[in-house]
């Protein structure tokens, strides 16, 4: 977590707290930390909202659309329970909807509420990719959102039921152009930032997302891999992570040194930057923004 924050600061970008709350250790990096308000409202206080430059409403995530966040019992250590102010060793499920948001005008109220507490912050809305995701994006814009984050189904997850993974909602390759074009039709494409996430693994994936219509991407698993993740899939259990990354166990958490980790992630970004520059050069483009929406530069290969 600290590694990601240090890297974000170094590269002048952002990292997100996720839905569990805003740990004190991240406060020194607060200008680069996005705080997330998820449906369980864990760790959300006026204090945490006030210090963030970007506030993200997590309505859903691509790995398990229609379900809330899951933190299984054996990761809910006393330290975690204290942060979330819950009962240790019980599983913490966030509900699937915000109970206060069942309609678009509720969503607008929700955004207005956060803006009352922190008028300067940008508002980001993280959604998965249902078939009407384009209308969701437009509705969000009119409700006051600045960023829309489409989370596709290829994303990693700490814990999700097998049946949900990759079986629900639209692939991100469809969702990005759909939203991009709809926003253009509405005449508001440049009023809102479209970010894609869920399985962005390489610089090429980044370029493809942008070519499909996104303004940028959000990565998750890639950073973990930079820290040494071997993708064994044991994230949800308390002591299952062999590299001490996806763990809340106090002992295993010691395996990663924040500075070493930060450098690894910094290197990752640097490598991607190099690759993206090469791609742009080859495509004859001077700026990554010029790549946006250039589906003509994409070729569909059906696996052969």
């Amino acid at each position: 977590m600290l590694s990601r924050a240090i890297a974000a600061k170094t590269w002048q970008t952002f990292t997100s707290t996720g839905e569990g709350g805003y740990p004190e250790e991240l406060v020194p990096y607060k200008d680069h930390v996005i705080t997330q308000i998820a449906t369980g409202l864990f760790g959300v206080r006026e204090e945490t909202i006030s210090r963030a430059p970007i506030i993200e409403f997590k309505y859903a995530q691509g790995a398990k659309p229609g379900l809330g966040g899951h933190l299984l019992g054996d990761k809910n250590t006393p330290a975690v329970a204290r942060k979330r102010e819950a009962v240790p060793w019980t599983s913490l499920f966030s509900p699937f909807p915000f109970h206060s948001v069942y309609s678009v005008e509720d969503h607008k109220k929700h955004i207005d509420w956060v803006k009352t507490i922190n008028p300067e912050a940008l508002i980001s809305v993280k959604v998965s990719t249902p078939s009407d995701v384009d209308m969701v994006a437009v509705g969000s814009y009119y409700a006051g959102a600045n960023i829309i984050n489409l989370d596709g189904g290829y994303g990693g997850t700490g814990a999700a039921p097998e049946i949900a993974k990759k079986n629900i909602a639209m692939p991100i390759e469809y969702a990005i152009p759909k939203v991009h074009r709809f926003l253009i039709e509405e005449g508001i494409r440049d009023e809102i930032v479209l970010l894609a996430s869920g399985g962005i693994r390489t610089a090429d994936d980044t370029a493809k997302s942008i070519a499909l219509g996104a303004d940028g991407v959000i990565i998750g698993t890639s950073e973990l891999v930079a820290l040494g993740c071997v993708r064994c899939g044991n994230c949800e259990s308390g002591r299952g992570c062999p590299r001490g990354i996806a763990t809340t166990d106090p002992e295993l958490g010691q395996l990663i040194d924040p500075d070493w980790g930060a450098q690894r992630i910094i290197n990752l970004y640097a490598a991607w930057q190099k690759r993206l520059r090469l791609l742009l050069h080859r495509l004859g483009l001077k700026d990554i923004q010029a790549l946006r929406g250039r589906t003509d530069l994409l070729r569909y290969s059906d696996g052969r």
Binding site: R45, E46, E85, F93, S103, W113
Partner: protein, 810 residues
């Protein structure tokens, strides 16, 4: 109706061609604001305007509309007989040039017109501030179906066994469908459409805000017994067609809707099987088509219509009498595909020709996911109201009160419907007949509004000028407001109105006073920019909230944050007009802040409270005290939906009831006393540790004040079927001396006895509850006249270890 009559009516629709665009995508309704009123006397349209204006933030100006029922024939230029017997066809000509051909084909050819004219309107639509799209020209036709045309219709469709009126109604609906289909295909050219065709009613709607309908068509003085209004917030598109706005018409009904359907296609298929096709490509339309089918063609009693739309489920179903279970089961099986699925709240206005009455219905979906408030007032005139927000109701009453002192700015009673329940069925109906108004629930049970014996009116002396006496007067009048529940029901609104008026007078007289001689410093919208720091920490900022916008940088809530930054710690805020976010943004470390709230506050009050103390001298609305971390909240009234959702600490006291999902997902250590009850889902997913070790809890007393003002038990301290669902921590201390709460109502908790420690834990809170609300602990411990030990009165609902929460591996 004879057997098979309904079937024959459905068959008769076959001659109509379904619209071409059946398979096209429909627009999604999203949010909205809805309001309705029914009154024993006729009410002018201008009174609806303020409540519509105050619900602007529930709409986005892409659609608004109103409907009126029980009209004044003289105002419409016709005789009383015509109003009673004729159908009022209102046609919107978006292309005035097509009127002649429309009239030739669909109006003069088959209808006998007793009177027709163009509706008055402003000469230039731009006179209406903010109205961007010119509303259509509307013509009104008072008509009956021509005798020979109707005879032919009856003959061709074998409708001889029907009452002639029924055949005539069917003809009218089919004629309307044909006209709308031809002249208003939603994706092609929109040239004309029929807004409404019912008796003694009309609908008007535009692309704009609902109050602009009243302004543009000059309805300010138009009188009606029942009005409904709607502010629309569709989620797609820039330019919208007025046909997509609400209200939508049935035969003699108009429906407005707040919410969303997930199964539009299923319902559309169900209707298609009965030769009924929606034309306006918005999901709301199918709901009124369903209502019309059930009411007019199948002739279901209202109770069954409501059951078909919002079925009774779970524990509520089990508590129904056997006979009802049987028939409800049959209704549910028949209507599983035609029951709208999704959050919804309907307000329906209707001219009921069978009963010769005008009705206003409010129906909520079984899960109660949309806000709804009902209200009633009687002070020489009987008026019933229903809306998405209480403050919209208050705004309407305030508008009436300004012109006619028989109306008070607050209702006698406010309540919520419990969706799909065996108690009220999730619906309430106001019926106006022969200048009287009655209220019934879904089951036809009359809601008593009986006023108790006369009691001397509360007399309040006029305020005097000195500062010391100002404080005394404030305390006195505030106390009247806070204790109004102790009065007979008919006196409460009067006392509140009088006390509030006196308080306002005091507050408004403050600017004339010498600043150095008083602790009270007045400010309002005009003076807000000149606010400077207080001279001492004891100074009190008195803020007149009227005119402040509801949200945004210049809102009243941001103003209070700025005042706090200037050093103000004590606030008295009054004249709230539904603005939101009161007390938000104060941040942590606000322990020495104290805010008093008078008036109709809006949603999200105190959400995020972290240290301050807020006393609200009225009911609050929805999403109050969410994520509250610390501090104290006292509510001299009821609370709305998702009260303290995700709360983490602090103390709260509610004099009345909370609505749906209070304290859901709460953690940490909130300590709450609710004196009334809740709709359902109290403390779902509560995670607040062990109350005996510093965790959180809710005390639920299940009492209310009877019409005389005495404390009485509710029928049950908790009527719902989902108490403490999936909770892993915290506890509920429920006052249940008669053992009415059962295990079956829990969803993963268990009922136990209180220990001495439990009692020692909650007693200080009950004592504070006594001090604030004058509800004696002794009275709480009394049942059937006998004072009992605490363990015989209170029961504890505590968490058990649940398999589902105990850490499963996928």
């Amino acid at each position: 109706m004879a057997d098979r009559d309904g079937f024959r009516l459905i068959e008769s629709k076959k001659r109509l061609a379904p619209p071409e665009h059946r398979s096209r995508k429909h627009a999604m309704e999203g949010g909205c604001g809805v309001v309705g009123l029914a009154c024993s006397e006729q009410i002018s349209g201008r009174h609806l305007m303020q409540s519509l204006i105050q619900m602007h933030n529930r709409g986005n100006s892409k659609g608004g509309g109103v409907a009126a029922f029980g009209l004044n024939p003289a105002q419409l230029g016709v005789s009383p007989q015509i109003i009673e017997e004729d159908y009022i066809l209102q046609v919107a000509y978006l292309d005035p040039g097509c009127r002649e051909e429309v009239e030739t084909e669909f109006i003069f050819s088959c209808l006998e017109i007793d009177e027709h004219y163009r509706l008055p309107s402003l000469s230039d639509f731009r006179e209406v501030k903010g109205l961007e799209m010119e509303p259509p020209e509307v013509w009104r036709y008072f008509c009956r179906v021509r005798k020979e045309v109707l005879d032919h219709f009856i003959l061709t469709n074998s409708l001889e066994t029907l009452a002639r009126e029924k055949a005539e109604e069917e003809f009218i609906t089919q004629n309307t469908f044909a006209l709308n289909n031809k002249y208003y295909s939603s994706l092609g050219e929109k040239r004309a459409f029929i807004l409404s065709h019912g008796r003694n009613m009309f609908i008007l709607k535009i692309v704009g805000y609902a109050e602009q309908v009243i302004e543009y068509y000059q309805l300010e003085s138009l009188e009606a017994h029942v009005w409904i209004g709607h502010q629309r917030y569709p989620t797609k598109g820039r330019v919208w067609h007025p046909g997509g706005a609400h209200p939508f018409m049935g035969m003699n009904e108009a429906l407005v809707h707040n919410g969303d359907f997930a199964n539009y296609h299923s319902i559309a298929e169900f209707l298609a099987q009965r030769n009924i096709f929606p034309l306006f490509l918005t999901d709301t339309e199918v709901s009124v088509l369903l209502f019309d089918l059930f009411h007019r063609i199948y002739e279901y009693p209202l109770e069954y219509i409501i059951e078909a739309l919002a079925p009774t489920t779970e524990r509520d179903f089990h508590l129904l009498p056997e006979k009802k279970k049987k028939i409800y089961r049959a209704i549910q099986a028949s209507h599983i595909h035609s029951s709208p699925d999704g959050p919804w709240f309907f307000i329906i206005g209707q001219t009921n020709t069978r009963e010769k009455s005008f009705k206003l219905l409010g129906i909520t979906d079984t899960s109660m996911l949309r806000p709804q408030v009902f209200a009633f007032q009687e002070n020489g005139v009987r008026i019933g109201l229903v809306a998405s927000e209480k403050q919209a109701i208050d705004a309407l009453l305030r508008s009436l009160h300004a012109e006619d002192k028989r109306f008070l700015p607050y209702a006698d009673m406010y309540w919520n419907a419990r969706g799909g329940s065996h108690t009220d069925g999730g619906a309430f109906i106001f019926s106006v007949k022969d200048n009287d108004l009655t209220i019934t629930d879904k089951f036809g049970r009359r809601i008593s509004t009986k006023k108790e014996h006369d009691c001397p009116s509360v007399s309040l002396s006029a305020p005097k000028a000195q500062d010391r006496e100002i404080t005394e007067k404030l305390v006195e009048f505030t106390d009247v407001i806070d204790s109004r529940w102790r009065l007979p029901i008919k006196e409460r609104a009067k006392a509140l109105t009088a006390a509030e008026s006196h308080l306002n007078q005091i507050f408004l007289s403050l600017p004339e006073r010498d600043r150095t001689k008083t602790r009270y410093h007045y400010t309002d919208w005009e003076k807000k920019d000149t606010l400077d720091s207080p001279q001492s920490e004891q100074e009190i900022l008195v803020v007149n909230c009227v005119r402040f916008p509801s949200e945004g940088d210049r809102s009243i809530s941001r103003f209070m944050v700025k005042a706090l930054q200037l050093g103000w710690k004590n606030f008295i805020t009054f004249n709230w007009r539904g603005q939101r976010f009161c007390g938000c943004g104060l941040g942590p470390g606000s322990e020495d802040v104290r805010i008093d709230v008078f008036g109709s506050s809006g949603d999200y009050l105190g959400s995020g409270l972290d240290g301050a103390e807020i006393a609200v001298h009225e009911s609050v609305q929805d999403q109050v005290a969410q994520i509250m971390k610390s501090g104290k909240l006292v509510i001299y009234g009821d609370a709305g939906q998702t009260f303290m959702y995700g709360a983490k600490g602090g103390e709260a006291y509610v004099l009345g009831n909370a609505a749906g999902r209070p304290l859901i997902n709460a953690v940490g250590a909130p300590r709450v006393v609710i004196n009334g009850t809740c709709l359902d889902y109290l403390a779902e997913s509560f995670m607040a540790g062990n109350p005996l070790e510093g965790g959180g809890f809710v005390v639920l007393n299940g009492i209310t004040f009877n019409p005389k003002g005495e404390i009485v038990e509710l029928d049950s301290p908790y009527p719902g079927g989902n108490l403490f669902s999936l909770a892993s921590g915290g506890a509920i201390y429920i006052r249940d001396p008669f053992g009415r709460v059962e295990e079956g109502q829990l969803n993963g908790g268990r009922l136990t006895e209180l220990s001495d420690e439990d009692w020692a834990l909650i007693l200080p809170y009950l004592k504070e509850n006594e001090r604030l609300f004058k509800i004696p602990v002794k009275r709480l411990l009394t049942a059937n006249g006998e004072v009992l030990p605490f363990e015989k009165v209170y029961r504890k609902v505590e968490a058990v270890e649940l398999k589902i929460l105990a850490g499963i591996h996928y």
